[in-house]
Subunit: 339 residues, 4 copies
C-alpha cells in the first residue's frame, strides 16, 4: 500500500517535496495545505494535488478567491500517514500532529530540540528508522554533512571551518535585500555548526556566515584539518562514491554559481533544480598533506528534497536500507547524472 | 520524412532550439555546432545530439579537451536541410549556407537586411512559406509583435510607444553588469521599433530602452493610441484568442518578474522556460476610451524558440497553415497552460 | 535673527536637511529628533546638533544606550520657529505642531491633502509665502517639476507621459529588495502624476512606475507633446536658464546612473549628493517637431534638500523673492557647478 | 620646498591620490596624466590640476574633444620629483621613469617583483626611506596588513586564514558583473597571501577569495591562531592604538557594508571615502583562548590613499618618522574620527 503523505506548507520546499513524493511509487500526495490562494495554490490544483486550507481563516480566503479546497489541515492529517511540515519555523503544529497520531518531518528552520533527532540519509538513516518525529537540517547544514561525513569516515576530520557565503533570498521573492551590501552574521558560531552536530555529534566544526546579494545558490568555503594525510585526488575519489555530490570545473567554463545553475537547467529536471551539492573539482587543494580546502555550492531550494523523501521511508519503515532508499529516490529525480 | 535541422551556435538560443526541434515529430536534430568544448558541449553529447566543431580551430580544442565531435560545420551543413543560425550577430555564415544550398534561419541580433524577410508565426507565417532565408526578430521585438499585432488587427493602432526595461544579461552569464546602475539607450528610437516594422511595416511605433541590473526577464511598458475605442476587458479578450500570450495577476501574488519565473519553474517545463509573453491582467488600463497602457514581461531566453520551430516548417513547407504549425509546436512545448 | 529650525526625523532626508540648514546664515538647527540611538544619532551629536528623543520610549532607549539627549520632541518644538518633518509618512505630528504654534514642512510621502499646499521653489515659491504648513513633493515628483515647469512655461505642454524606473531602496538600507526582479506598479497612474499637479494643477501628465534592483538613482523616461514646435537645442537652452537642472553626456563617458553618481562624488560635495536633476544632453530628441523625449536621473536622497531650505524661507518670509532664495541656497550647497 | 608629484592614471585611485596630495602642505600636484578626455578629465581641469595626455594618441583625442592639456606624460615627468603610477597593471612605464630619473610608486595591481619593495606605513615605513621605486599593495592586502601587523606584534600570529568576499567592481563602473552569482577564485592561495608577505615576509597566511555582486566594499573573514592567549577586548585594545583601523557595531545599527558606507557619507569626507579598515566590534570572537575570528570591511577605492601619501614622504625623505607622516596625512584627510 502506498503511504499517504500530507505536505503542510506549500512554499519553496513544500511544493518540491510534493512533486518528489508524487514521483515515487511507494508513496503518494494525500494533500497539500496552504495559507494563501495565490498562483501557487492554483498550480497545485492543476497538478492534481488535493488542496487544503491551513485553517479556517485561510479557508475563507480560498472561498473568496474562488479556489476550491478539500477542507482544512485538520481534515488533511486524518487521511495521512505522515506530514512533511514545510511551514515557516516555529509555526507550532507539533501538538496537532501528536493529537492526530501522525508521524511528522520538519525542516531545518526549526530548532534541533523540537525533535531531538535530525536526519541525513547518508549519515544516519538507520538511526531514524521508525521514529515518530524527525527534522531534516537546513540546506546549508545538509550541504556540509554531504561532504564532511565522507571525509570524516575516510580520513578523519580533526577540525573543520566553513565560511558560508549565503544567498540573501530565493529567486521567487522580490521583497528582501540587500541589493548592494555584504552582511556578516556577527554572532559566532552561526547556527550551522551546532546543526551539523545534530546529525554528526562528534564532528569538530566551526561555521561563519555572511549574506550577499544573490538569489541562486549558497557557496561554502571549507577548510578541514584531516587526521590522515590525503591528496586532492584521493578526496575527490571518496566523494565520488557518495550520491548527491556532483562535480563541476572552472576549466569547463563553470566559473561561478551562475554557470552551475545554467547546467542544472540544461539537465531538464523539474524546476531546474540541482539536488546535489556541487564541488569544484579544480578548487580542491591540500596543503602540507593534511589541510584540505574546497569550494562547494548549495542549491538552497532543493538539496533537502531527496532527504525528505528518504526520511519518509525511514520513519514509515518502507525501506530499512538507507542506501536502497537513496538509490530509489535519486533515480526518480534524475540525480546522479553529473559525476 | 523528417526534416534534418542543423543548429549552428549552441548557446542560450541554440540549445533551446535544439531541444524544441527534438520534441517535434516532423523534424530532427542533424547536429549542433559549437566553438568551445565546455560543459554545454558535454551536455549536448549526453542528450545525443551529434556534436560538430564550428571550425578547424574549434576542432583542435575539442580534441584537446577529449570531447568527441562528428566533424566540423562544413560537414554538418551537408547532412542538413536547414540551418538555424544561433551564432553571435554578424558571424557571417551566409555565404557558407548559400554554397551548401541549405536554407537558413537567423536570430534577431542580425540586421533585418540580412534576409529582407523577418518572421513571426502569428503575423506573417504564410508570407514566409518556401523562403530560403528568414530571420526571427529578437526576444523584445517578438514580444512586442505578440501583443501589438492582435491589437492592430482588432482595434487599429494609431501609434504605439514601448519603453523596454531590459535585463542586462542572461542568468548563465557572470561577466556583464551593471551591478548597481540604470543605463539608458541614448540613441532613439532603439532598434526595436524598426525591427517590429520588419514584420509589421505599417505599424507606427516608437521604442525606448533602458538596461537594469537583473537577469531574468525584460519588462515592457506599452502605451497605445487605439483607432477604435476599447475597454481593458475587450483588450484582454482579444489577446486570449492568440497563443503565446499568457496572463498573470498582481492579486494572485505575481508582483514582479521574480514571481513570473517562479510560476514558470512550477510549470515543470524544460529549463523552466516561459515561451509566452506574460501580461499583467490587472495592469491593463484604458484612459479616455482609446489610450491603452499595459505591462508585459518577456523571457528573453525562450520566447523566440517556438517561432524558430514554426519558421522551419514554413521554409521547408512542412505545414502550409501557420495556425496548425503553432498549435503543434505549442502542444509539444507545453505552451497554452496559463490563460 | 536667525530662524530656529527643528528637524523631526533624522534619516535619509532629515540629516541632509539639517546639514543644509546649518550651511545657511539666516537659519540654524535648533535640534533634531530621532527614535533610535544608532550610529546616526551619535554622528548628529558629533556634528553639534542638539539631539532630542522623538518620545518618552525613545528617550529611555537613548539613556540605555548612553546617548545623551536634550529632551524630547515636545521640548524641541518649543524652541523652534519651524519644524521640518522628515518622519515616515503618516506619522501624525500635525496636531502637535498646531498645538505648539510652529510652522511645519512635510515631505512627499504625505498625501497632498495634509497641507493642501505643495512647494517647488522654481514653480510656486511666492504662492507659499507666509503659509503655516506646506509639503515638499517627493524626489520623483520634484524631479519631474524641475524639467516640466520650464517646458510648460516656454513651449506649452499638451500632455506628458513619464515612465519612472525607480531605485528600490536607498544605499544605506540592506533589508529591502528586489535582488533580481523588475516590479511594475500595476495601479495607474502612479501617485506621481497627481502629485505633480499638486504644484502644477493644469499640467496634463500621466505617470507609470516600475521598481528595479538598484539603490543609487531613479531614471525617468519622459515623453512630452509640446504645444509649440521646438528643437532639442532649444529645449536644452530653456533648461540651462533654470537652476537645479544639470547636464551629462554619454559621449563624456556618462553611460549610466553609475557614472552620474561617480561624477557627483568627484564634485566633493557633502555626502557626495547631487541636488540637481541630471539630464542626458545627447538623450534629448524631438520627433516631428513637437514630440519631445528625454532621460533624466534623480538622486532620490538629496534633490528635495534645497527645496526644503527655500520652503523654510518662504514660510517664515525670510526672503520674498524665490529666485534670490534659490541662489542663496544653491551657493551654500555648491549647486550650479555642472552646466 | 614642496615636492612636485605627478599622478599617471586618473581613475579610481589616481584621482583620490591627487586630491590627497593637494591636501598636504609639503607636496603639490605637478600634473595628472590621462588617456581619455571624459568627464573625469573635465573635472580635473576644474580642480586646477595641470592635465596631461598619456601619449600622443591621447593628446589627439583631447584636442578633438576640446579639452586642453598641458602636454604629454613625457613633459609631465620632467617637472615632477616623483610619479604615483595609478595606471592599469602592467602598463609598463618603469623604463620611462628610470630614463627621466624620477622616483615612482606603483599600486597593488603590479607584481611585487616590479619593485622588490612594498610599502605599508605602519609596518615598514622606515625600510622604504629614500627608495627609488616602491609599490603600495592592493586594497585587500593593505586591509589585511592593517589588522594583522598589530596582532603579530602584540600576540604573535601562528597562522592566519583570510576569506575575502570581494566586491565585483567599483561603483562608477557599469560594465562588469556578476549581477546574480558568486564566483570563487579557484586557484589557491589567492595572490593576497603572498602579497601580504611582500611587506610582512614572516607572516604565515593563507588567503581565499570569492567575488560577489556588490560594488561598495570588500568584507574579510579572518581566522587567526595566536601565539599568546588573548581576549576579544585585548585584541580591540591593540587595534585602537593603531591609526587607520575604525570600529563599527551591529548593535549601533551597522549590520552590513551598506551602513558602513552610509556612515562614511555622514562623515562628510571627500568623495564619502572611508580610508580606515572597519572592524565590527561585536564580531570579534576568541575561542579556546587563542583562536581569533573577526570581520573587517575594506573600502577598496580609498584605503590605500593615505599609504600613497606616506610613501611619497618616505621615498623623498620629507619625513623620516613614519608615525609623524601618518599623523599628518590622517589629519589632512579627516582620518581618526571613528574610534
Amino acid at each position: 500500500m502506498t503511504a499517504r503523505i500530507a505536505i503542510n506548507g506549500y512554499g519553496t520546499i513544500g511544493k518540491r517535496v510534493a512533486d518528489a513524493v508524487a514521483a515515487q511509487d511507494d508513496m503518494r500526495v494525500a494533500g497539500v495545505a496552504k495559507t494563501k490562494p495565490d498562483f501557487e495554490a492554483k498550480l497545485a490544483v492543476r497538478k492534481g494535488y488535493p488542496l487544503y486550507a491551513a485553517n479556517k481563516e485561510a479557508a475563507a480566503k480560498f472561498e473568496k478567491a474562488g479556489v476550491k479546497s478539500s477542507g482544512t489541515l485538520d481534515d488533511l492529517v486524518k487521511v495521512a500517514d505522515l506530514v512533511v511540515d514545510c511551514t515557516p519555523e516555529e509555526s507550532g503544529y507539533k501538538a496537532l500532529y501528536e493529537k492526530a497520531g501522525v508521524k511528522a518531518i520538519w525542516q531545518g528552520g526549526e530548532e534541533p530540540s523540537l525533535t531531538n533527532l535530525s536526519f541525513n540519509a547518508a549519515a544516519n538513516y538507520e538511526e531514524c528508522l521508525g521514529a515518530t518525529f524527525v527534522r531534516v537540517p537546513s540546506c546549508n547544514t545538509t550541504g556540509l554533512i554531504r561532504t564532511l561525513y565522507p571525509l570524516d569516515a575516510h580520513f578523519g576530520v580533526a577540525n573543520a571551518l566553513a565560511v558560508m557565503v549565503r544567498r540573501a533570498t530565493d529567486p521567487g521573492d522580490s521583497k528582501k535585500g540587500p541589493i548592494n551590501a555584504i552582511e556578516p552574521e556577527l554572532e559566532m558560531p552561526s547556527h550551522h555548526g551546532p546543526d551539523v552536530q545534530s546529525v554528526l555529534p562528534k564532528l569538530n566544526i566551526h561555521t561563519i556566515a555572511v549574506k550577499v546579494p544573490t538569489t541562486i545558490m549558497h557557496l561554502h568555503i571549507v577548510t578541514v584539518d584531516l587526521k590522515k594525510p590525503a591528496t586532492a585526488d584521493a578526496v575527490l575519489d571518496v566523494w565520488k562514491r557518495f550520491p548527491r555530490v556532483a562535480f563541476v570545473a572552472g576549466r569547463d567554463g563553470v566559473k561561478s554559481t551562475a554557470q552551475i545553475m545554467e547546467m542544472a537547467r540544461d539537465l531538464s529536471r523539474n524546476r531546474s533544480d540541482l539536488y546535489e551539492i556541487a564541488v569544484w573539482r579544480d578548487g580542491v587543494h591540500v596543503l602540507d598533506g593534511k589541510r584540505l580546502f574546497y569550494f562547494q555550492a548549495v542549491h538552497q531550494e532543493s538539496d533537502v528534497v531527496p532527504e525528505n523523501v528518504d526520511a519518509i521511508r525511514a520513519l514509515l519503515e518502507i525501506q530499512k536500507d538507507g542506501r536502497k532508499s537513496m538509490d530509489k529516490t535519486d533515480k526518480s529525480l534524475g540525480i546522479g547524472m553529473v559525476k
